[in-house]
Structure formats: structure tokens, C-alpha cells
């Protein structure tokens, strides 16, 4: 199993420690290698929280998250950073491209902490950009691109380090239908080709339908959608 969440709970507290809201309550989830999962649910149900926990951007109050059988809770921050860098790819609703960098530079950013062989990274970046139709505009900056192009760039950035798990948080949320469809196709095809597991939080049925399983997050727990 690639990712396993066991009985995790998460609540948000005030600055004085008082629990304001319990978001996740004994939630469990398992994601196999190369599997694609969609998580749906109403706003505020904890979808992004779950994604952040899975991506080690946040930590559960209770429960445990295992990655390939290893508990992530035992890692220090440096190890967690390295883990995210190598194993996780993030795609957000907003592309979060750095406006001061060109598209090419943006996709290379995840490679910087590695201090590794950049030649391979450049080669992979070129392949992905060509594949996604962004190669010709690689020297442009986010301000000069369309929203769809930006989001595709964000996908390339997420895949540049060949992660095992892609976490996408409403990846099509800010796109029109056409661009949303293109992006969904891109995510599924690339993850399938590279055997990358994917957890997608989405409201869009079109996106969810392309996944292996669809879960609904309600009252802090996941229930498998009977339609999936």
C-alpha cells in the first residue's frame, strides 16, 4: 500500500487551545500504487485538510499516516521536506506559479532542493512541457499565460520529480469546462503512464468519474461512493 491513513482525527483550535471545529474524526484511507482516488464532499468538510495531512503539510491530532508501510509521524521536518520533494506532487486550485519566474523556471523549482543532476531534470521538464503543449511558451511568465496554461504548468511542476503520489486540490476549480477537461485528461493520462497514485479533491463530477474510486467525506469520515 502506498499511502495508508489510520483513524486520523484533526480539529482546528483557537489560539487559546479551545477546539473550534472537528474536521476529521477517525478517518481511514488506503491508496495503492498507481491508484487514482477522488474525494468529494461539501465545502468545509475537510477535503483539503485531508490532502494536507496526506502531503505532510499538516499533522493529524490522532491516528497515523503510513507511506509504503512507514509511519510519517516519526520523521523530522527535514526528512518530511525531502519526502514531499521526492514522493509527493501537489496541484492546487490556484496554480501558485511564481509570477517573477518564467514558466520554464517555475517547473524547475522542485528540483532545486535536491542539488542533484539538473541535466536529467531539464530533459524531463522539456519532455513534459512538450507533451503538455507548453514548450513554445516556456520563457513566458505566468502573467502572460492563460489560466489553463498556468494550471497545466502547475501539473508539470508537480510531476517534475517523478513523485509516487499526486495530490490535487480542486485542480479544475478555477478553470472553464474546456480547460478543466483538458487538465483532467492530462492528470489521468500522465499518472497512468507513470504509475503515479493520485488523490484528487474535487467537486467536479467529470474529474471524479475518471478516478478508480470516489469517496465522499462527510462528518469527518470517508464513505465510498456507491457509484464508483
Amino acid at each position: 500500500m502506498l499511502l495508508e491513513a489510520r483513524n486520523i482525527s484533526k480539529s482546528y483550535k483557537s489560539r487559546y487551545g479551545r477546539t473550534i471545529r472537528e474536521v476529521l474524526n477517525g478517518l481511514s484511507l488506503a491508496v495503492g500504487e498507481g491508484k487514482r482516488i477522488a474525494i468529494t464532499g461539501p465545502s468545509g468538510s475537510g477535503k483539503t485538510t485531508l490532502l494536507n495531512l496526506a502531503g505532510t503539510l499538516d499533522f493529524p491530532d490522532k491516528g497515523e499516516i503510513l507511506f509504503r508501510g512507514y509511519s510519517l509521524s516519526g520523521m523530522n521536518t527535514a526528512e518530511l521536506a525531502a519526502f514531499r520533494n521526492r514522493e509527493i506532487g501537489f496541484v492546487f486550485q490556484s496554480h501558485h506559479l511564481l509570477p517573477q519566474l518564467t514558466l520554464w523556471e517555475n517547473v524547475l523549482i522542485p528540483a532545486l532542493p535536491l542539488n542533484g543532476n539538473m541535466k536529467e531534470v531539464y530533459k524531463r521538464a522539456e519532455e513534459l512541457l512538450r507533451e503538455t503543449g507548453l514548450w513554445d511558451i516556456r520563457h513566458q511568465k505566468p502573467g502572460e499565460l492563460s489560466g489553463g496554461e498556468c494550471q497545466r504548468t502547475a501539473v508539470v511542476r508537480a510531476l517534475i520529480n517523478k513523485p509516487s503520489l499526486l495530490l490535487a486540490d480542486e485542480p479544475t476549480g478555477s478553470l472553464d469546462n474546456r480547460n478543466a477537461s483538458i487538465l483532467t485528461e492530462l492528470l489521468t493520462s500522465l499518472s497512468a503512464r507513470e504509475n503515479i497514485a493520485m488523490v484528487v479533491v474535487t467537486h467536479a463530477p467529470g474529474v471524479a468519474s475518471g478516478m478508480d474510486k470516489i469517496y465522499k467525506l462527510k462528518e469527518g469520515r470517508l464513505t465510498e461512493n456507491s457509484d464508483s
Binding site: T48, T49, L57, A81, N85, H96, L112, E170
Partner: protein, 1170 residues
């Protein structure tokens, strides 16, 4: 909801950001308003100093070195109806602690019982009894004296006879008494009473005038009258003075001599001044005028009669070379009619140098020794001679060899006293013996005793006290004028604090920009709601106004604190500048309003610029944030006319600096997507500044053009602007370049270029700051090795000395040196000095007439350097120009030349070749018939102390009441002559003839004997009130004022840098807060916190290093003169420490801010969608 409410709500909602911006403005306001407050405080304090040194006294009548009768004061009071007080003022020294504590140049003021009430003092100064003194608080503090303590008071003798009068002994120059302190006069008691225009408190000793008269061997004499009448007119006072004047007030003696039945008019000063002689001759045309002189010998062949008086008179109708002798002399010499006699006599030089001269006289008559012929009354009263019992008791002003005195001579003295043994014509006598003190010794009128009154009246009518050295001074008026015309500290501190103000304004600008940029999306909203750009601007300007008002008022509070801080520093730390403890803080409402208005205007201008430049012209939202195609490219403001102007100007600029390289460079930086002509424009301007700066530098280095340190400063300044413009271009270039590779450094550079305005602002602040600090540091003046050379500021002299009691003799003469035991290898240049105010930079008041010092210019040949000169200055022998005769009011145009301010005299130094005509103007037209006298002064004094220029004329009133003009023919480069105007001694003595002795000295000796000579000369001249310092110390004392200003400038510059760095931290914090999303992304991408931290630190470190790197090279250009061999060396260690300190300070702020901002909170929360 009204617009006002919207503005207020926005202001409150963004209160934190707005308050930060207001903080920046508050700093700027504080500096601006603080400068006004400091200016007001100084002006007020100088005015207060005037009142504290004069009290209720508004005018004075002084008489130069002359003494007048106390009764003249009574008459003056009676005639004018103005209350007066009489005083006898002398200079002295105080010795306490058994000789261990000495205080020179003490002002001894003998006052009457009216003085205290006139001053308004609670202390009764006049009530001091014999041997009792009241001393000023500063003197008590210096000598650690308390009431009932005793000390020795040595005073310069005040006498009616000028000290250097020929034939008069120079013994007893001082009078010493042991005195008891009965009270200490604090400031409130007007203990700092001073007739001189100065903010510095003198050391005062107040005594009773009667006691002082007694001590000085006088009776009922005074030399000053003090008046208290604010409305008194000086012309009226002069008229009253004339009316009150009696012959005795001019030291004339008018008496009827029953023995010869004639009225004798003589002078207590021995000689009757020439102008008075002329008046008396006119008034009494039939009078017998006599000039009696003491001769060394009268010889005929081998026969010699020593030490005799000869009278020059019109009595015998003698011609030139003829003499009538008395029978005693005829017998003594064996002389008869037609015999030739050889007469030897001394001619006395200005420093009592005695030169023996001879004259041959042919005997044309011999008179008997009867009463009518042998008239002893023709001998003037000469103390030491007239009152001597025998010849052996003589104490004359000339050397007497007792061996030559025979019994016959003693018998003659016993029988006939000083009866002249020979007579010559008056014309002959005046040719031989006229001296600067006069040309007659007595005037004889025949008539009855009853005519005496008439004679006195005639004398009173013809004698003008104003031509006898009397002066009527409007003390209060002159003092207040001098205070008002003094250094404008408001402007000064405005200039000194300019960098802090700039830092504050830039900080305000940056923070305002932050606030506005954060809300740029609102512009789109307003626009979509149909707001016009004007209305949107109004909203933001309204909010900006609230911020400005908040910052402005906060700044006013800070200004008061800043003013108080500066006041305290001026009193305690920067004492060198003000030299007074009288400073009080004055907050003038008009200054507050002025400061507030200026800062509000600046704030609104900056806000207006920011809104137009960065908000309204920007796309309303980030295009990439749009949901679809994103960049609609819409901007509310289009670059229209300005853009066209930029393109046109840019093209012109390109043409001006045409070249393939430039084209390539321009092509290189040309943005790929959108050509922005402003890049080209900026680069063109940068290149123009580079060209100008480099050209100026090369011209100064290689062509001989020398504008002094300022020229290099300007070169450096031009290059600084060029560098900053190039930095801007570089940032644009980086922002628009696309890299094929990326690493951490490039990522940081990219981030910097993202908001080039902010980055540039920080770089400008730091670059300017470091430039100011380094360049200012180089202007520091120290009497370095170069200054010790003859052409330097010390003139190569080892010591500068001043004496309270003038030295009457020539210290270079063999006799004096033997007499005083002066070491053989020590040389002196002696200066006579007039009584006047100090015009050096140590005096904050505007002084119209600085002290005149005079010497033989030949002693100064090859010494010092000239910063500026005129046609009147002889390039080969500049100092000899002081002996030139100027054409008076017909003086033609003079060319003003600027010389090398560094080294070399106009005659011998590099300046000779480098003199360049920089300005030509007419010599200031002198007043009609005013004689012009060539003068030289320190250029700094001419320019700053006197507000004059070389070629201008300073007007003085000489001892005879005549106006003279001192034409400034040359300005000395930084020298020990600050505060003085130098003229030729010969000319000086014509106008100030009764000045006796030298009181200012330059001393030449081997520099390695400094300590030894300091002790030795101090001992020799101990009784003269000798104050001696090395010339280097004196120069450094003057330099200390300028250096203190520079230190303040540097300190405020450093404060500006601190502010800049603090601003950098604030900007950084705000920037990090703004970029939390970006930082969160780094986290999500697997960047470690340390790596994220490094990205941030590296970015701002680049700014810090960039700012320093941009500022240091131009600063080094600016200090080229200080780096040249032989120049005043700057301290590279100090500058290096300063740069490193700034760097470390910046690094600390950057690291701490980055750590704090990144540590706090959950960065990834920014990525949360739900």
C-alpha cells in the same frame, strides 16, 4: 455611505500598515521640523546670550587705550539725561592654588555703584571693598574658588601713557594684588558680562573702580561708560560725548605757568598726537610749539656731553641744521658760534627697537642760563626721568650708561633738571623726532592766567574725542544684529539631517506603496463599479492624507524630542560648535506649522506619484488570477503622452551616446515581449551621468583643473547617480531575462527583480548612506604632516601663542633674547592686534569687524597657502602685497582666482600653475575717500564667518575715528589665522598708532623640541599671561568645529542608514507576509525551512550588498584627494569598520526578520482552499 466614510473605514481597516507608513513620515517630519526648532533655539539662545552678557546696558562709550576722567561720565549723564555707569576695564591673569592654577585673559572690570542696578543684577559689584573681588561662576569653577578664598590677580597696567612711547620706561607692565573673593556671580547676576560679541562666557573679575584706580596708580580715571537707554541714538550720544569732553579727558594738561607767565598745553601721553597738534596750531596760530627730545650725546670733536634734552621750537627763528645752545653746553663742549655739533639720538621702532641716528648741527647762537632762556618746563613729563632725584636714578625708555654720566651732568640735573641744552627749529625737530605717538610735546601761549578758561574752551572746541579713539557703541543693537546674522542652525541641521529625512520619506514611500499595492485589486472593483480614475485617486489620496496627517503630527512630537536631543548634544557632546551652555529649547508654533506643511506636501506628492505610477497605471488585477484567458491587459492608465516623451527622449539620449556597444546593450536588454523604451532612457541617462562623472574626474586628475575636494565629491555624486540608474537597468534586465538554467542565486535575483521599485529604493537608501558616510569622513580635517610644512595650515610654525600683556620688545633681537634668555634656535613672528571680536568659526555670531593682526609681511614669505586670490595679490611674493598701496576708491576690477586648496603658496606651490579664473567681478566700491588697505584672511572666515568674498572690503574705524577699508586681496587655505585679518604692521601703526606691543605670536622651532620649548617659553613669558599651543593643536581646534559638523553629518547619515536598514527589515517583513503563498508553495514542493530561509536571506543580502557596492566605488572617487600622497589621510580602518558594521547590522536584521517571519504560523495555511 459617503466617500469620507469609505476613506475613514479604509484607513482604519488598514491601520497597521498605515501607521507603519506614518512612522516613516514622522521621521522625516521630525528632521524637518527639528531643524527649524534647532534654528529657533539657537537664535533665541544667541539673543539670550546678548541679554545675559549686557543686562540693562544698551550702549557704551569706550576710549581705546586712552583713559578719561570719571567726571566726564557725570557731565555726559548731565548732558544726555541718560543714566550712566563708569568703568575701568583691564585685562589680567588669575593665579590660584599657589601658582598651580592659572587663568589668562581674565577681564578685570572696575565698576562704580551704579553698575549693578544698570545691569539688573542682585549682586552689588560696586560695593566690593579694597582687595575684594566678585568673580564669574565659570572662573570660580575653573579655579575652584569659593567666597573668602584668595588668589593673585595680575593685571595689565592701565596708564595714560601708551606702553611703547619713546623715552618712557617699559617697566611695571603689570600690577599684581592678592585679592579675596567676596561673591560669585552666576549667570543670573550677569556674571558673564562681556562687551565682545560672543556667546562664550568670559572669565570676569569685578572690582571697585576706585580701588582699581589706586592699584593702577591712577586717580579718578575710567576707560568705559555704560549707558542704559534702549532708544538712545548713537549720533546724539556722539554729540553728548563731544559736549562732555574736557581737555583732561584727552589726557591733555592745560596750566598757567607762573614761572614763565605762559599757558602750557601738554599731554600726559608725552607726545601730542599729530591731528591734535594741527588743531591746536590752527586754534592758536601764535603759540610756540615745542618738541623736546632726549638725545644720547652731543659732541664736538672729542668732547661729549651725554644724555641731554634738545627742544625743537619756533622761538629762535632757526633754519635747518642750525642750533642755539646754552652756555653750559658751550662750556662743556668748548663750542662756539659756527661750530658743528654731532647729536646722536635713538629712534624707536614699533617693538622698541632702538636705532641710533646722528645729525650735524651748526651753532648759530649761545644763550645764557638765566631763567628766561634756560627753561626746564620745556622738558615733558617722563616717568622715570622727570621724577628722578639724580641721573643715576633715571629709568628711561632708552638704555642709559651710568659710566658716561659725569659729576657735571649730575650737577646740571640738580640745577636745571631737564632744561634743554640746545634748541633747533621745530621743522627740523619734527623731521627728526616725530613718531606715531605725536609730533609736539607742548604748546605755549602767552597771556594772563585769566585766559586759561578761554584756552580750555578753545581746546574743547577743536578736540574731537571721536578722533582720539573714543567710540560710541550700540552694544545691544549690535549684539542682537550679530546674533540674528549668525550661523543659521535651522538650515545647517536641515542639511545635516537631509539623509535621515530622505530615508524617512523613502520609507514612507515604500510602505505606502505596499499598502496601495496590496489593494490594487480594489482598483479593478472600483473601476467595475464605474468609478473614474480621478475618483479612485481621490479615495487613495484621501487615505494618504490621513496617513500623512497622522505621521506629520507624530513627527511634530518626535521633532520636539529630536530638538531636545540635539540641544543636549550641542551642550554636552558637540560643544566645539557652540561653545556655550546657554542653549534652551524653543518651540515656535510657526516652525511647527512650517515643518508640518512641508512634510504634508512631501507626503502627498509621494502618495500622488505612487498612486499614479504604481496603482492606477498597473493592470487592475494580476492577469494570472483571472479564471479564463487571464490577462486582459487592461490598465486604467495607459502610457500615452509620457510614453511618447520617453521614447523621444530615449532616442535622443541614445544618439548622444551613440556606439555599437550601446546598441548591442540596448538590444540585449530589450524585453522580448514588450519593448519598454524606459529601459533605453534609463540606460542613456545612466551613461550620460557616467560620462559626466568620469570626465569631471579625469579633468581634475590629469588636466590641472582643480575644484578641490568638492570637485571630486561632485564626480563621485554623478557616478553614484549613474550606478543607481544602472542598478535600475540591471533589475529591469534581470526581470525580463529568461534563463535556461536556474539555481538558488538566480531564484533570489529573480525575486528581487520582481518588485524592482522596492529593491531599488532599498539599494538607493543604502548606497546614499554609505556614500555620505565615506565621503563625509574624508572631509575630516586633521593637522596631518602636510599641514606642518611651511605651505600648510600651520605655516610650518611650531607654536601659536597669545599674551594677555603685550610683549613690547622684538623677540628676535639679540638684546631681548639675551635679556629674556630665549633659546637661540627659536624664531618669532610678532603680531600687533586690535581690540575686536573673534570672527573664527568658534563664534556663532556674525562678526563685522574681526580682529586685525599686523606684522612685517616679510616674515611670512613662503608660508601658508592661498585658496583664493585677486589681481592685487602678488603671485611671486603674496605676503608683500600687504605693503602695496591700493588706489583707494578708484580701484578697478579685480580678478578672483581660485587656487589649489591643498598645498603650496600662490608663489611657490602647485597653485601657481593651477590658478584658474573662475569668477570676475568688480571690487566692492569703497566709500568715498576711504583709504583701502590690502588685507589677507582665512578663506573660511571670509566665506562663513564674515559672509564675504575675496575682493570685498571690510570697513573699520581707526584710532583717529577715520574709516578705513580692508580690501581682502587673498584668502588663505585652512590656516591657524582663523578669526583674524592680517595687514602690514607699517600700515597698522599709521591707523592704530598707540597700539603697543605684540600679543599674537607664531613661533618657529624644531618640532622635536616641542615639550622642552613649551616649558621653557611658558616660563619666560609667564608674567605676560602667555597662552601657547602647538600650531597643529590650534589648527585642530579650528578644524574641530568643521569636524564636529562632519561628525554630526556622519552620525545622522549613519542614523539614516540604520533607518534604511530598519526600513529594509520592515519591507522584508511585509514582503514575506505578502509572499506567504509563495513560501507555502516552497514547503509543499519539499523545500526545507532552512532552504526557504536562505532564499529570503540571500535575496535581501543581495540588496544589502548591492546597496553598499553601489555606494562605495563612487564614494572612493569622491575621496580621491584624501587618497593622494601627502594629503590629509583618511582613516581607512575607520571607514572599513563603518562599512562592516553596516553590513553586519543589515545581516542581523535580515536574518532575524526572515527567521521570525518564516517560523511564525503555518505557512501552508495559505494553500488551503476550503
Amino acid at each position: 455611505m459617503r466617500l469620507r466614510k469609505l476613506i475613514t473605514r479604509s484607513f482604519i481597516h488598514y491601520l497597521r500598515g498605515n501607521m507603519l507608513a506614518a512612522g516613516g513620515l514622522a521621521v522625516a517630519t521630525a528632521v524637518i521640523t527639528g531643524a527649524f526648532i534647532i534654528g529657533d533655539s539657537l537664535s533665541h539662545s544667541l539673543e539670550k546670550a546678548v541679554m545675559m552678557r549686557l543686562g540693562g546696558i544698551t550702549h557704551s562709550v569706550t576710549a581705546g587705550d586712552r583713559l578719561f576722567t570719571i567726571e566726564m561720565g557725570d557731565r555726559f549723564e548731565e548732558k544726555s539725561g541718560i543714566k550712566i555707569s563708569r568703568a575701568l576695564v583691564a585685562e589680567g591673569m588669575a593665579i590660584a592654588g599657589g601658582g598651580a592654577d592659572r587663568l589668562n585673559r581674565v577681564q578685570v572690570i572696575g565698576v562704580d555703584d551704579r553698575f549693578s542696578s544698570m545691569l539688573g543684577s542682585g549682586l552689588d559689584y560696586g560695593a566690593a571693598g579694597p582687595g575684594e573681588v566678585v568673580i564669574s561662576a565659570n572662573m570660580a569653577s575653573r579655579l575652584q574658588l569659593e567666597p573668602d578664598d584668595h588668589f593673585m590677580l595680575r593685571m595689565k597696567s592701565a596708564g595714560v601713557i601708551p606702553m611703547n612711547t619713546p623715552l618712557v620706561s617699559d617697566a611695571n607692565q603689570t600690577v599684581t594684588r592678592r585679592v579675596r573673593v567676596v561673591a560669585i556671580a552666576e549667570d543670573d547676576d550677569y556674571g558673564r558680562f562681556n562687551l565682545r560679541v560672543s556667546q562664550t562666557a568670559p572669565f570676569n573679575v569685578f572690582v571697585n573702580i576706585c580701588w582699581l584706580n589706586t592699584v593702577m596708580g591712577l586717580d579718578g580715571m575710567a576707560n568705559a561708560l555704560f549707558l542704559s537707554d534702549e532708544d538712545a541714538d548713537r549720533r546724539d550720544l556722539k554729540a553728548h560725548l563731544k559736549d562732555s569732553f574736557e581737555p583732561e579727558d584727552g589726557n591733555m594738561v592745560v596750566k598757567y605757568r607762573n614761572d614763565v607767565e605762559m599757558t602750557e598745553i601738554s599731554s600726559e601721553r608725552v607726545f601730542i598726537e599729530e591731528h591734535l597738534s594741527a588743531r591746536l596750531s590752527e586754534a592758536f596760530p601764535t603759540a610756540n610749539r615745542v618738541l623736546t627730545y632726549f638725545v644720547n650725546s652731543i659732541e664736538k670733536g672729542d668732547n661729549n656731553t651725554p644724555y641731554s634734552f634738545i627742544a625743537a621750537t619756533e622761538q629762535f627763528g632757526l633754519g635747518p641744521g642750525e642750533t642755539v645752545i646754552n652756555s653750559w653746553l658751550a662750556d662743556d663742549l668748548g663750542a662756539g658760534i659756527s661750530d658743528t655739533l654731532m647729536v646722536s639720538y635713538f629712534e624707536t621702532g614699533p617693538r622698541r627697537e632702538l636705532e641710533e641716528r646722528d645729525v650735524r648741527l651748526v651753532v648759530t647762537g649761545i644763550i645764557g642760563m638765566d631763567r628766561s632762556a634756560a627753561d626746564s618746563t620745556l622738558m615733558p613729563f617722563l616717568p622715570g626721568l622727570s621724577d628722578a632725584g639724580s641721573c643715576r636714578d633715571w629709568d628711561a625708555g632708552v638704555p642709559i650708561s651710568l659710566d658716561r654720566i659725569r659729576d657735571a651732568d649730575e650737577d646740571y640735573w640738580t640745577g636745571y633738571r631737564g632744561t634743554p641744552k640746545a634748541y633747533i627749529s621745530l621743522e627740523e625737530g619734527q623731521r627728526l623726532w616725530t613718531n606715531r605717538f605725536g609730533n609736539l610735546t607742548s604748546v605755549w601761549l602767552s597771556g594772563e592766567e585769566s585766559d586759561l578758561r578761554q584756552v580750555r574752551n578753545t581746546i574743547t572746541r577743536v578736540a574731537d574725542p571721536l578722533q582720539m579713539g573714543f567710540q560710541v557703541n550700540g552694544l545691544r543693537e549690535q549684539g542682537l544684529e550679530a546674533a540674528a546674522g549668525g550661523i543659521d542652525f535651522g538650515m545647517l541641521f536641515g542639511g545635516l539631517g537631509f539623509f535621515v529625512m530622505l530615508a524617512g520619506v523613502m520609507l514612507y514611500f515604500l510602505l505606502m506603496l505596499f499598502n496601495l499595492e496590496r489593494r490594487s485589486s480594489q482598483v479593478r472593483l472600483f473601476s467595475s463599479l464605474g468609478y473614474t480614475p480621478a475618483l479612485i485617486r481621490k479615495i487613495y489620496m484621501g487615505e494618504g492624507m490621513l496617513v500623512a496627517v497622522a505621521g506629520g503630527f507624530a513627527g511634530l512630537l518626535l521633532a520636539a524630542g529630536y530638538g531636545e536631543l540635539v540641544r543636549y548634544a550641542l551642550m554636552e557632546v558637540w560643544q566645539d560648535i557652540v561653545r556655550t551652555d546657554l542653549l534652551v529649547l524653543v518651540i515656535n508654533p510657526f516652525s511647527l506649522i512650517g515643518g508640518l506643511t512641508i512634510s504634508l506636501a512631501i507626503a502627498l506628492l509621494v502618495t500622488f506619484f505612487g498612486i499614479n505610477r504604481y496603482i492606477l497605471r498597473k493592470p487592475a488585477t494580476n492577469p494570472s488570477d483571472s479564471t479564463d484567458e487571464g490577462n486582459d491587459g487592461s490598465a486604467i492608465y495607459e502610457r500615452t503622452a509620457r510614453k511618447k516623451w520617453l521614447i523621444t527622449t530615449s532616442s535622443t539620449g541614445t544618439k548622444l551616446t551613440d556606439g555599437n556597444m550601446l546598441k548591442k546593450l540596448l538590444a540585449y536588454i530589450q524585453p522580448r515581449r514588450q519593448a519598454d523604451s524606459s529601459h533605453n532612457f534609463t540606460l542613456s541617462v545612466a551613461l550620460l551621468f557616467t560620462f559626466a562623472g568620469v570626465t569631471a574626474l579625469l579633468l581634475q586628475l590629469f588636466t590641472g583643473l582643480d575644484a578641490g575636494p568638492v570637485g571630486f565629491f561632485v564626480s563621485g555624486g554623478l557616478l553614484l547617480v549613474a550606478v543607481l540608474l544602472l542598478v535600475r537597468v540591471l533589475l529591469m534586465l534581470v526581470a525580463n531575462r529568461a534563463y535556461d538554467r536556474i539555481d538558488m542565486t538566480r531564484l533570489s535575483i529573480r525575486n528581487l527583480a520582481r518588485n524592482s521599485t522596492r529593491s531599488l529604493m532599498v539599494i538607493i537608501l543604502l548606497a546614499l548612506g554609505i556614500f555620505v558616510i565615506i565621503a563625509t569622513g574624508s572631509f575630516r580635517k586633521d593637522a596631518a604632516t602636510a599641514e606642518l610644512h611651511p605651505e600648510g595650515g600651520t605655516g610650518g610654525f611650531l607654536f601659536v601663542a597669545e599674551s594677555t600683556v603685550p610683549v613690547l620688545h622684538n623677540l628676535n633681537s639679540r638684546e631681548t633674547r639675551l635679556d629674556l634668555n630665549i633659546p637661540p634656535d627659536v624664531g618669532f613672528v610678532q603680531f600687533m592686534a586690535s581690540y575686536a571680536d573673534d570672527a573664527s568659526c568658534l563664534n556663532l555670531n556674525e562678526v563685522e569687524n574681526p580682529r586685525i593682526i599686523a606684522t612685517d609681511p616679510s616674515y611670512l614669505e613662503g608660508r601658508f597657502s592661498f585658496a583664493r586670490d585677486t589681481d592685487w595679490l602678488d603671485n611671486d611674493n603674496p605676503w608683500q602685497s600687504l605693503n602695496k598701496e591700493l588706489p583707494g576708491s578708484d580701484a578697478g576690477p579685480a580678478t578672483i582666482r581660485t587656487n589649489n586648496g591643498g598645498a603650496g603658496t600662490a608663489a611657490h606651490g602647485p597653485a601657481e600653475d593651477q590658478s584658474t579664473v573662475t569668477a570676475e567681478r568688480e571690487v566692492q566700491p569703497s566709500r568715498a575717500s576711504t583709504p583701502l588697505i590690502p588685507a589677507i584672511a582665512d578663506q573660511a572666515v571670509i566665506q562663513w564667518g564674515l559672509n564675504k568674498r575675496v575682493g570685498d572690503t571690510l570697513f573699520y574705524t581707526d584710532e583717529r575715528g577715520r574709516e578705513i577699508g580692508l580690501l581682502l586681496v587673498g584668502g588663505l587655505a585652512n590656516s591657524i589665522f582663523q578669526g583674524n585679518v592680517i595687514i602690514s604692521e607699517d600700515i597698522f601703526l599709521k591707523h592704530f598708532p598707540s597700539t603697543s606691543g605684540s600679543s599674537f605670536f607664531l613661533i618657529d622651532a624644531e618640532h622635536d623640541r616641542e615639550e622642552e620649548l613649551r616649558e621653557e617659553l611658558g616660563f619666560i613669558f609667564n608674567d605676560q599671561g602667555w597662552e601657547m599651543a602647538t600650531a597643529a593643536e590650534r589648527l585642530n581646534e579650528f578644524n574641530s568645529v568643521e569636524n564636529t559638523y562632519l561628525a554630526i553629518f556622519m552620525m545622522l547619515g549613519a542614523l539614516g542608514i540604520l533607518l534604511g536598514v530598519a526600513g529594509l527589515a520592515v519591507v522584508m517583513a511585509r514582503s514575506i507576509a505578502e509572499r506567504r503563498m509563495e513560501l507555502a508553495l516552497y514547503v509543499s514542493l519539499g523545500f526545507r525551512r532552512s532552504q526557504i530561509n536562505m532564499i529570503i536571506v540571500r535575496e535581501y543580502l543581495l540588496l544589502l550588498v548591492g546597496g553598499l557596492a553601489a555606494g562605495i566605488p563612487p564614494a572612493i572617487i569622491a575621496i580621491v584627494p584624501s587618497l593622494m600622497p601627502g594629503s590629509q589621510q583618511i582613516n581607512p580602518g575607520f571607514l572599513a569598520v563603518m562599512v562592516v558594521a553596516i553590513f553586519l547590522h543589515g545581516l542581523l536584521w535580515i536574518t532575524v526578520t526572515s527567521l521570525l517571519m518564516i517560523r511564525g504560523g503555518n505557512l501552508t495555511a495559505s494553500l488551503r482552499n476550503d
